[in-house]
Amino acid sequence: MSGEEEENAAELKIGDEFLKAKCLMNCEVSLILEHKYEQLQQSSDDAVNQVSQVFEKSLQYVKRFSRYKNPDAVRQVREILARYQLAEFELCVLGNLCPETVEEAIAMVPSIKTRGRAQDDEAIEKMLNDLSLIKKFE
């Protein structure tokens, strides 16, 4: 439990295991789960009824909170955010919440400022602009 007490996503303390793991944005999860759901539907009738509550709730959730719907846009978002030396976790928080201003982005992901990387406000602003462009042209 001692490790548990120290975790704090705002400082990017989420444990080594998760820090190195691949994070998924809601829109990516939505693609994965919907694909899986379709497969289940094709396999047999009762497979769909047997899906766990966790699966069902997650699917509903990511469908509701996906910022980007089409797979190309989702890929672009990841590509753009990947240019800014963000940790996986930070990348996904930004992709999920789509902050509109620099202050908002820093409030959502405080670690982009504190980790001492050369993320100045200008760079963050450019990043947010790029993101909103994808949304516009989706």
Binding site: E17, C23, V29, S52, S58, Y61, V62
Partner: protein
């Protein structure tokens, strides 16, 4: 946050499943066993997405069961303290409100709701600002910050706050 991680599990398989379809049987049993479970360490296992590798089986003395170490990829949902995420309000009462983000339940106490929001009872209990411009009720979408997690054997429960900058009801109509 959702993660894509690799987990390992020792699967016990009854001898009647041996044969050509051993692998398929093993995989479908794995899905049945782990999908929907929750552990404090890895969070909720939402879906198995692939099998990395299946190790050599070991026959159990006396039973004939065989244990296979299986490495599999899966999507998990794991909430973290300090994480900011969006959630759907499921219940409102005078103590605060409950919200759901995927499989996880989050409680926001009325102490952690901005002071200018008052509880209104009635058919549709809600929290409303004095000028009525912002309202939190069932099915509202809110952005909140997780400030505490409690881990049960089979569930993770979170405490959240909306008393901070850029938190609260998501009013941007394009995102609803």
């Amino acid at each position: 946050m959702f993660f894509h991680i690799v987990l390992e599990r020792n699967m016990q398989l009854h001898p009647r499943y041996f044969g050509r379809n051993l692998r398929d049987n093993l995989v479908s049993k794995l899905m049945k066993d782990v999908e929907g479970t929750c552990s404090g360490r890895h969070g909720f296992v939402v879906a198995v997405t692939g099998i990395e590798n299946i190790g050599k089986g070991l026959i159990r003395d006396g039973t004939g069961f065989v244990t296979f170490p299986v490495k599999y990829q899966c999507v998990v949902f794991r909430p973290f303290k300090g994480e900011i995420l969006e959630a759907v309000v499921t219940m409102v009462n005078k103590m605060g409100f409950f919200a759901e983000a995927g499989p996880v339940q989050i409680f926001v106490s009325n102490h952690l709701i901005p002071d200018d929001m008052e509880f209104q009872s009635g058919d549709m209990p809600n929290y409303t600002t004095s000028d009525g411009s912002v309202k939190i009720q069932k099915d509202s979408e809110v952005r909140l910050k997780i400030i505490g997690t409690r881990v049960d054997a089979t569930e993770i429960f979170c405490i959240g706050t909306i008393k901070d900058d850029f938190l609260g009801v998501i009013n941007d109509p394009t995102t609803v």
